[in-house]
Symmetry: C2
């Protein structure tokens, strides 16, 4: 059975971001990608593709560790249909996260789809779950972060292997240490 | 004592967004503002001010309810210094949210400061708490959402009084009802 979780294992989290607008300010999609990475996703598919954004994210991932990648999604519908696991669409119109969370925690491989303002109606039918992080308009970045935090918890440290730098948390000020790849958490 | 919580009361949440770039794509700051509203903030101060963004957010708040406003912050340092309550700066360099969360839950009136890529070093000293939502680079939108969700929980329904429209959650598809202001949750 596709997507069945091993006992106690963290599900595999993949993000699909649709409705990107290449040529406009890329910061919003950059934030979606960095949030996906920081909250434990292995990769993010992007529709329409944007090689220059993918390149910039790859450079962040090299610096801060892990193998996170932004991959092109020319045909997002096929990606959704072919996903071996469950598809969760984050939308303010869906069922409340609170109500869905226990079912979501039991899933195996999860493809989370986040759109912009205009999402194709077909997505609501293609998704196994349409989940709302609050029934108010806000942000796909916020929705993705809270969803991943509540359903999966903190990203495993192994997601950020072979980092070249690491933050040492401080109550005041900044402290960052440079690492040889060999010293980084494994 | 400023900022002391009444028993069991939800703290007052105010957001200060610094490092906005008027004239560039306003979507990122729009997402910060909508996230602040959806997660229960009463208002967001914006530096530098952006009247046209404030106007657009006011129109969303009229439609979806509540009195959330974006207010100009000409002098953000004074705003931080004069805040009657505690100041929490969200930064990837700060102490982990997990470690700070129990102290944060006891606060009264909280001013949460979120910046962009370049935050003035003074902010780290001015803030009572520098809090990290994960020690990885991601997004001020994601950090604000997870912080508010973990520390304060869902926004009280009263935040969205006098809405003109309300979502009826659906497992598949969209359903929005139009309301007279009188019918809206109070």
């Amino acid at each position: 059975m596709p997507g069945r979780p091993r006992n106690g294992a963290r599900p595999r989290l993949t993000v699909l971001r649709i409705g990107h607008r290449p040529g406009r300010d890329p910061r919003l999609t950059t934030h979606v990608a960095l949030t996906a990475r920081a909250f434990g996703a292995e990769r993010m598919y992007l529709h329409p593709p944007d090689p220059s954004l993918a390149h910039r994210i790859a450079s962040v991932a090299r610096r801060w560790g892990g193998g996170f990648q932004v991959l092109p999604a020319d045909d997002w519908r096929r990606l959704v249909r072919d996903h071996r696991g469950h598809v969760v669409h984050l939308t303010m119109y869906g069922e409340p996260l609170d109500r869905a969370v226990s079912r979501l925690r039991g899933l195996g491989s999860v493809l989370v789809v986040v759109g912009g303002a205009k999402v194709p109606p077909a997505l609501f039918e293609l998704a196994d779950f349409n989940v709302a992080v609050g029934a108010q308009p806000h942000s796909e970045v916020a929705a993705l972060a809270v969803f991943a935090d509540r359903v999966f918890g903190p990203a495993p440290i192994a997601r950020f292997r072979h980092a070249r730098r690491r933050i040492v948390p401080q109550p005041h000020g900044k402290r960052v240490i440079a690492l040889d790849a060999a010293e980084s958490p494994s």
